[in-house]
């Protein structure tokens, strides 16, 4: 074994001189490998990279979308809350206004009623007074005439004369009342 190696060493050309067969084989082997990797391995790796990139991008996009939606929901909620608040305030104001109005109305009605009652009473009073005055007047006239007739003895039968006498008497009475 050792001797064959040494013999070979003596015979073989320098190691920096290429064997043609090795150059050809190296080229062909490399070519085959290049072809296989180019056709089968590289596209798969590239596809994987793309998939991964798109998945990451998709994930980010989804997260952004979700965030935007959440933001939107929050805004909507806030808006609704604000609306509800103004609504509540409006209702409260309205209620207050209404109650005020009702109170005012009731008061006005009561006053009107009171005024009406007072007026009615007054007119009744006036009527009664007038009636009493009229009754008194006629009664007094009749009694005066009777009294006078009894005193004078003279029958004041004459209607016209009697009326005149009563009239005169009442007028004196009136003027006396007014003079007082």
């Amino acid at each position: 074994m050792l001797t064959t190696q040494i013999v070979l060493a003596a015979e073989e050309p320098s190691p920096v001189l290429p064997h043609t067969s090795e150059v050809i084989l190296g080229l062909v082997a490399f070519g085959v490998l290049l072809f296989v990797l180019w056709k089968f391995a590289v596209p798969r790796f590239e596809k994987l990279y793309e998939e991964r990139a798109s998945q990451i991008e998709g994930g980010i996009e989804k997260a952004e979308k979700a965030q935007a939606e959440a933001q939107q929901a929050l805004e909507q909620y806030n808006q609704q809350l604000a609306e509800a608040r103004t609504e509540a305030a409006k209702i409260r104001d309205d209620a207050r206004l209404e109650s005020e109005q009702i109170r005012e109305e009731i008061r006005a009605e009561a006053q009107a009623e009171a005024a009406r009652i007072v007026a009615q009473g007054e007119s009744q009073l006036q009527a009664q007074k007038a009636q009493i005055i009229a009754e008194l007047r006629s009664e007094m006239g009749r009694q005066s005439v009777e009294l006078a007739g009894r005193i004078v003895g003279e029958s004041l039968e004459d209607e016209e004369r009697r009326n005149r006498t009563v009239e005169r008497f009442l007028a004196e009475l009136d003027s006396a009342g007014a003079g007082k």
Partner: protein, 258 residues
């Protein structure tokens, strides 16, 4: 000469150790390993990428890390985020292909970095990377524009071009592909040789040296192991550097001016 050395005792390994006898017919070990590497890499990535999930499992995570390393760290950084996409398969294949063929060197039983045979890296650099970057550069800028871009960098005072243009031509059209191949070849060749030296020396010390020298074998084996770890690092770095330089050549060819 061989017999002379043999008579003296320890025979240090040399370039001859890299020329393994054919396994069958004209097929040698590195040839088999290269074919195996194609099967291994293709199977690994085709299988792991068949049913990928957005949240990766363990295996998918490994495959994805390798892919995104070549895609983002190497291709995008050095070609530019505008054009890198269509070069990703190339850079990805370069890195994995060279990495597996390098790492063979420390896999038990295989223990042979394919890239220590210069034919393989040369095929990749001269027949793949070199034509690709010149082609895309010419496609982008036209032949004249591309040559002007590459050989007459802007912002240099006139007479300097006398000096600069030949250098630029020599480096971009002659040296780049060769250095690209030699870098990985030499690292693998030297690394494998170092491991061989320590291992064979340890073996020789243990088996054939005088009793007083036998314990030194342990030191030799320890170095072999330490070198194996170092090699693991270098193998990865060389694969990275190859892919990185390929990407940066493409990036420079595409750039408006640099």
């Amino acid at each position: 000469m061989g017999t002379l050395v043999l008579a003296e005792g320890f025979v240090p390994p040399g370039a001859g150790d890299f020329n393994l006898p054919p396994i069958f017919g004209a097929v040698t070990k590195p040839m088999l390993l290269v074919v195996m590497s194609v099967v291994i890499i293709a199977a690994f990535f085709v299988i792991t990428s068949r049913n990928m999930k957005v949240v990766p499992g363990k295996t998918q995570f490994v495959a994805e890390s390798i892919y995104s390393f070549t895609r983002n760290t190497i291709a995008r950084e050095h070609i530019g985020s505008k054009d890198f996409q269509r070069f990703v398969p190339l850079i990805f294949t370069l890195f994995t292909f060279i990495f597996v063929n390098n790492i063979y060197g420390i896999i038990p039983l295989i223990q042979f970095p394919t890239m220590s045979h210069i034919g393989f890296p040369l095929a990749l650099s001269i027949l793949v990377v070199y034509p690709v970057y010149h082609y895309v550069g010419m496609r982008r800028h036209g032949i004249g524009g591309y040559l002007k871009n590459q050989l007459f960098p802007a912002g240099v005072p006139g007479p300097i071009y006398l000096l600069l243009t030949p250098i630029e031509f020599f480096s971009k059209f002659v040296m780049n592909p060769i250095t690209l191949a030699i870098r990985v070849f030499a690292a693998m060749f030297a690394g494998h040789l170092i491991i061989l030296v320590f291992t064979l020396a340890g073996e020789w010390l243990l088996v054939e040296a005088s009793a007083a020298l036998k314990p030194v074998a342990a030191v030799s084996f320890a170095f072999a192991i330490a070198m194996t770890f170092l090699e693991a690092l270098i193998m990865t770095i060389q694969a990275y550097v190859f892919a990185l330089l390929a990407a940066s050549y493409i990036g420079m060819a595409l750039a408006e001016d640099h």
